[in-house]
């Protein structure tokens, strides 16, 4: 990919704009309320953008269009549980958090149960969020390393370093205001990329034709049942049932018990502003995710008329071309190119046929296209097999590179720089919020709770800044060692969250709905559930989204059981 002077100018200007804006907006009172909660002064629209910016990481904009290209639009179902979760949270936890004036979600658990339950859940949060944030840092570096040849380790350090500067300087307020600006730039750039993908389609092929072709190739599978061969496939990741049920539990856990999100809406000036931010998020999240997937669909349509690469990761391709498999690889790629040409002819004929009423011809061409599609996928699989053979430790999945390869090969100068900038901005938006939340939990749930020395407001403020820097460095260090995760890092982040979210959510559900359960019972139940979740995960018998359900249900069941058994145990001892 060629990165021109104009691209560099756009990239550097955009990043400097964000950092300057973050530092400019960072003036706040030098105490914990100011640093972690922006003095609880934010209006609902800032909360909305902050929630969305925290959830959407760089991989959202890198991987999601690629996912639509390879697997179709069914990924949108993953978000179907989110609006329901927003409503439940507005009824339950949000008013409590505001009434108790907590800094972290886990403070509530001490008031409801005891200190050990609060400490356990806060620890689980720090563990999962700390590691997954470290993994998130590498997403942009790994892609930029492949496409532009940038040094992976230096990109990590540069990205992490710049981010730490404004996050540490301004705390929650800087995070919220920079996310606003980031949001506008990100969606404007995605819209421009989408416009170009449609605009570059051959003459006479419009938006509807592009959709028809994608639909006939199975890419517009927005709703899927998860039923295959007459029974429900529990390992199928994205279908309407796993989306609504699994997605509901995941969203409840993420928005209700993950401090990186709770910390965002606690900055609101009232319960009303928090609720409005969350509810509008419930309204816009699914359509926005649909739009990002649609960008991928248009990229797919575009590649039906122009030569698509057999493999999208340039760096890995270079490794194969320098290996002993280079000759065989070139032969397979040549086969792919021939098939692409044949497929292009079919698509052109199909686009013309779709404008007629000749259903027989449409059906014939559709079957032909599906066969060619299947053959293309088979060839792509053998190409990936060569990548795996040439570089055994690598992940041959190239989904992360599809969208950026399209950007680099076909979009005009300047826009490439802007798209690279949005990778940084999206990464910063979510990582900045994570760092702020990690620092707040460390300060509020551990330092203030377990330190015998009483700190002044100014000392607390300074310690909080040091914790933000500390977690920033921790994440960059994790990123330096996580290179081998390769392209599977998106899933790694999601799975890591699902390993702990269910249990944490279960503790909150017990706190809210099972009034007779006490601290000891829920503490034991949380540990038992976590063991079961880890056991199910390692047994690999179910898709990761269901782990959230198992964890939460496990805590509810074991809490009831242990609370019921405690009097019997006491009686037996007597």
């Amino acid at each position: 990919m060629i990165f021109s002077g104009l691209d560099w100018t756009v990239l550097i200007t955009t990043l400097l704009l964000i950092i300057t804006y973050g530092i400019y907006k960072s003036r706040t009172s030098r105490n914990l309320e100011g640093y972690f909660l922006g003095n609880r002064q934010m209006p609902w629209w800032v909360i909305l953008v902050s929630i969305m910016g925290t959830q959407a990481s760089a991989v959202t904009f890198l991987t999601v269009p690629g996912q639509a290209y390879t697997d179709g639009m069914r990924f949108v179902q993953y978000y179907f549980g989110l609006p329901i979760a927003m409503v439940i949270l507005c009824v339950t936890l949000v008013p409590i958090f505001h009434r108790l004036k907590v800094f972290t979600a886990y403070e509530y658990l001490e008031q409801r149960f005891d200190l050990k339950t609060r400490t356990l859940t806060s620890f689980l949060f720090l563990l999962s969020r700390g590691l997954s944030t470290g993994i998130s840092v590498i997403a942009p570096s790994i892609v930029l390393h492949s496409l532009l040849g940038w040094n992976f380790y230096l990109t990590n350090i540069a990205m992490g370093g710049l981010l730490i500067i404004y996050t540490t300087a301004g705390g929650a307020k800087a995070v919220a205001y920079t996310q606003q600006l980031q949001f506008i730039i990100i969606y404007a750039a995605m819209f421009a990329a989408c416009w170009y993908a449609v605009d570059m389609l051959p003459e006479g092929v419009g938006v509807m034709d592009a959709l028809q072709i994608s639909g006939k190739s199975g890419k517009l599978n927005v709703i899927t049942s998860g039923v295959s061969k007459g029974s429900f496939d529990w390992k199928d990741k994205y279908n309407i049932f796993s989306g609504i049920i699994g997605g509901l539990f995941l969203s409840l856990s993420y928005f209700g018990t993950d401090q990186s999100q709770v910390g965002r809406y606690l900055t609101a000036k009232s319960v009303k502003e928090s609720k409005m931010g969350l509810l509008i998020n419930g309204l816009v999240k699914v359509p926005l995710q649909f739009f990002i997937l649609l960008v991928g669909v248009f990229v797919f349509s575009f590649y039906q008329f122009y030569k698509a690469p057999a493999y999208f990761d340039l760096a890995q391709e270079q490794v194969v071309k320098k290996s002993a498999y280079a000759g065989e690889y070139d032969k397979v790629v040549a086969q792919y190119d021939v098939l692409q040409e044949a497929k292009k002819n079919t698509v052109v004929e199909l686009a013309a046929a779709l404008k007629s009423t000749d259903n027989n011809k449409i059906e014939l061409l559709q079957n032909q296209l599906q066969l060619q599609q299947q053959q293309s996928q088979e060839i792509r699989q053998s190409v990936k097999a060569f990548v795996k053979k040439a570089n055994p430790g690598s992940d041959a999945n190239d989904t992360n590179y599809i969208f950026l390869r399209f950007v680099g090969d076909f979009l005009p100068k300047g826009l490439i720089g802007l798209i690279i900038a949005i990778i940084f901005l999206a990464a910063w938006g979510s990582i900045a919020a994570a760092l702020n939340s990690l620092a707040s939990c460390t300060m509020i749930d551990f330092h203030k709770k377990f330190s015998s020395k009483k700190l002044t407001e100014d000392e607390e403020y300074k310690w909080s800044k040091w914790y933000t820097i500390g977690w920033g460095i921790f994440c960059v260090v994790i990123a330096q060692f996580a290179y081998n995760l390769g392209n599977s890092l998106v899933e790694a982040v999601n799975i890591l969250g699902s390993l702990f979210y269910g249990t944490i959510l279960g503790v909150f559900l017990v706190a809210f709905y099972m009034k007779k359960i006490k601290g000891n019972a829920v503490f034991i139940a949380a540990i038992l559930s976590e063991v079961i979740v880890l056991g199910v995960f390692f047994a690999n018998i179910i898709s990761f989204l269901w782990l959230n359900v198992i964890g939460a249900a496990g805590v509810l069941f074991f809490s009831w059981l242990v609370q019921w058994l405690i009097p019997s145990i006491k009686k037996y001892r007597l």
């Binding site: 329901i84 927003m86 008013p95 309407i240 409005m276 419930g282 309204l283």
Partner: protein, 43 residues
């Protein structure tokens, strides 16, 4: 621990928060129905 409208202020556009909750859920239902027909139409 149920929500208290006095503490939380009157929601915009509706008399109570229930109006907003209903809008969010109904919008989701409409989206799913639209997506279903979208999938069927283009498949």
């Amino acid at each position: 621990m149920s929500s208290n409208n006095n503490d939380e202020g009157k929601p915009p556009l509706f008399k109570t928060w229930k109006g907003w909750y209903l809008v969010v859920i109904l919008f989701l239902v409409v989206l799913i129905v639209v997506f279903y027909f979208f999938t069927k139409h283009f498949s």
